[in-house]
């Protein structure tokens, strides 16, 4: 089965990040690693999730004589001391935690240095997975939450056959674009109906609470709202105008999938083309350079 051709969703799907996984040095010693353990490198899709890589990462470090017999769910990741939420897509975590502005003059911090932990799971900061397929459950729940925002019910997801529902997750972890998008486009296109609300979340730096509100894609006269309109509506102080600021590099910008989208794009178009596989538009707002 092939998905409708869309170069944008394809490019986002193919987007990857080189990541460098290093062991926490004190943990490594406690877990019997005798020498300095070389880091492990992967190139992970931005749309993927850390737990999908855990068994591979675990195998590498255990093969390097790390003594670990615990459950995969014990393994967690951090960046500069901040635990990474495993139920967020990797690309979102990168944009959020590096705070890297694609329009800056400095090179991106790649490969992205991430620390792997095999001990001391921070249960106060991260959700402890109760089951092996927790990532899939969280992912499907996000898709249903998105559907509820669009339609006021989860009828569109629930009307998918069991096979099609499974295909969403299977397509994601097996990195099969056609498998995933042949089902997902039916959800994001919403049978051609204007959604009630756009499934989106906005992330600000410095651990500000995540912003999620009902965002109508049209104004009271039925005119389509742009990304700039929505940012201006939700964060009027950071986006005093729906239009781009003249002093671009000094102004806050939205970042999605490591790019700064134009503020003039209709929010519905952004939702359909730039959403993550969980159907949400995850927008990281970065302040001026």
């Amino acid at each position: 089965m092939t998905a409708p051709q869309n170069p944008i969703t394809r490019a986002i799907w193919d987007g990857t990040l080189p990541i460098k996984f290093s062991l926490d040095s004190t943990e490594a010693a406690a877990l019997g690693a005798k020498a300095i353990v070389e880091p492990y490198f992967i190139e992970a899709p931005r749309c993927s999730y850390f737990p999908l890589w855990t068994s591979q990462i675990r195998k590498y470090f255990v093969d390097m004589a790390l003594n670990f017999i615990g459950d995969d769910a014990e393994i967690w990741y951090d960046v500069d001391g901040t635990p990474l939420k495993w139920h967020y897509p990797i690309g979102l975590l990168y944009d959020l935690h590096t705070g890297y502005r694609p329009d800056s003059n400095s090179p991106p911090p790649l490969p992205w240095p991430v620390t792997v932990h095999f001990k001391n799971f921070p249960a106060d900061k991260l959700i402890k997975a109760q089951a092996i397929d927790a990532t899939q459950d969280f992912f499907m729940s996000m898709i249903k939450e998105a559907d509820f925002l669009r339609n006021g019910s989860t009828k569109k997801v629930m009307n998918l056959s069991k096979n099609d529902q499974t295909q969403l997750w299977d397509g994601l972890w097996s990195k099969n674009y056609d498998r995933f998008w042949s089902v997902n486009y039916r959800l994001v296109i919403n049978d051609g109906q204007m959604p009630k609300n756009v499934p989106m979340r906005i992330y600000l730096p410095d651990n500000c609470p995540v912003i999620q509100e009902p965002i109508s894609p049209v104004d009271e006269n039925g005119n389509q709202l742009t990304l700039g309109d929505v940012l201006h509506q939700v964060l009027p102080e950071l986006f005093p105008s729906p239009l781009p600021s003249e002093n671009a590099s000094a102004s806050p910008v939205p970042v999605i999938h490591g790019i700064i989208p134009q503020l003039e794009i209709p929010i519905v178009w952004a939702s359909q083309n730039l959403c993550y596989p969980d159907n949400f538009l995850h927008i990281v707002v970065l302040l001026g350079i």
Binding site: L149, E213, S251, L287
Partner: protein
Amino acid sequence: MSSANNDPTLLHSSSTSSLNTSLAENTTQTPQTPLNPAAILEKYKGKKDPNKVVVRFRAIGNAPILKQPFFKITASNKFQVVIQFLRNQLNYKASDPLFLYVNSAFSPAPDEIVSNLHKCFSTDGHLIINYCTSAAWG
């Protein structure tokens, strides 16, 4: 003398009064003095919604019914607090299976914020949480 040169307000002293008037009228449209984004961020960071929202619990299947199903919960809390609260009400241990859904539709992540859920999904001002002892809408 030198401090006067560094004071930007003095450069426009002749038009100060008219500028102030237009600022007062147009603050929402085009602020003349951009606010410091870092200061704005501080505001958002500390923005703990002190309001409480009404959560209504509804049992599904053989889950025990609460005598009093309405509760007020602080909006800035994470959904984890709602889960824990319900467990306490039911006297459930951490190992007892309990599944929570919003509007019989989806299961929010424990780190989602109650005020966000309330803004997006409440019905007649109530955030309706269905709960059961086995997965219902997986």
